[in-house]
Point group: C2
Chain length 199, copies 2
């Protein structure tokens, strides 16, 4: 980066509104899904004119692509004790989905992925690139170093359960699912995930 005096990257004034638009977009997409999150509503939440949204991101689809980039930040499981795999993973996802700043992005991704074909494709990509590799360490205890050929299925089962959990707790809001504490969830779900990974 050149740093002469002020040029090149002088922290343009529009960067703030650009960020405001992105934040508003994530919130609306998460709350309403792709179709019902209108450009006008996003613009209003960002206290800006709708036309600015198009100016900055080209189109509504461009905005969505810019606003929703998923990074699950999956931990490296190779250092985790083998019988702690399930609990570690469940805790990580609970933190990510339900408390972190990425929460809105993930709920948005889920809501949009269900109705929008492009959203579904994006989720497939996230799964393939971030979740599936995680199953390299899968398989029963004895088989060290070898990647079992049912690793993709194991990863898919883990994804199924954790996405289902997010669905019932954060989107559909089934009463008993919402009522469960973080520790309850870990106690119940961790053994199931553990079995999918190492069973």
């Amino acid at each position: 980066m050149p740093e002469t005096t002020a040029p090149a990257t002088p922290a343009r004034r529009g960067d703030a509104t650009r960020a405001a638009i992105l934040a508003a977009a994530r919130e609306r997409f998460a709350a309403d899904g792709y179709e019902r999150a209108t450009v006008r509503a996003i613009a209003q939440e960002a206290r800006i004119d709708p036309s600015m949204v198009i100016r900055y991101f080209g189109s509504k689809e461009g905005l969505f692509a810019a606003a929703v980039d998923v990074d699950l930040r999956l931990p490296d499981l190779t250092g985790v004790p083998r019988d702690e795999l399930g609990a570690t993973l469940v805790r990580h996802f609970l933190d990510l989905w339900e408390t972190g700043p990425a929460s809105a992005v993930l709920v948005a991704m889920l809501r949009v992925g269900v109705t929008n074909p492009a959203g579904a494709a994006r989720m497939q990509q996230v799964f393939a690139e971030q979740v599936a590799p995680l199953a390299r360490i899968a398989g029963p205890a004895g088989s060290a170093g070898e990647v079992p050929d049912d690793a993709p299925a194991r990863a898919a089962l883990v994804a199924s359960h954790l996405l289902g959990l997010a669905l019932t707790r954060l989107v559909l809001r089934f009463e008993p699912a919402v009522a469960m504490s973080r520790d309850d969830v870990v106690r119940w779900v961790a053994p199931a995930v553990q079995r999918y990974l190492a069973g």
Copy 2:
């Protein structure tokens, strides 16, 4: 109201088109979700004028309410051997979701429930009325007759996993999830469900 002749319900001529509209609606709602399933598209699929949809069902919401009534037809589990609970339930849901005539209705319900508030409310109702009662027989083997107070949580966990399965297999279409055979799914998922019910 007027019964001039003998048959009070003489199989009116419009009943056929009414059924055609309902079938088309289920298909479009399942494929596209609530917002993207337009009245015009449904009408075209039913080979009818869009205005007829409104005439028959009052509004788009009315059509949705008429088209999507979920009956999970859950089997009576009291007669099932205790260690077969999980497998029985998983098989039932696979048949229901993925092959039966109710398949379109259920996928529609899932797609709409995620983006539409009314749809989410409907799913909560289905869960409360049809799934939650199923957990009356839950709890460890010894406790016969007593309904444990964690029964709602157990039911929610079962719902989470099975809905997550439907999500990854039928909606998001994660490759390894789709590739799994019916028997593979039962082999993997049944023990987890079993534990939630009877563990």
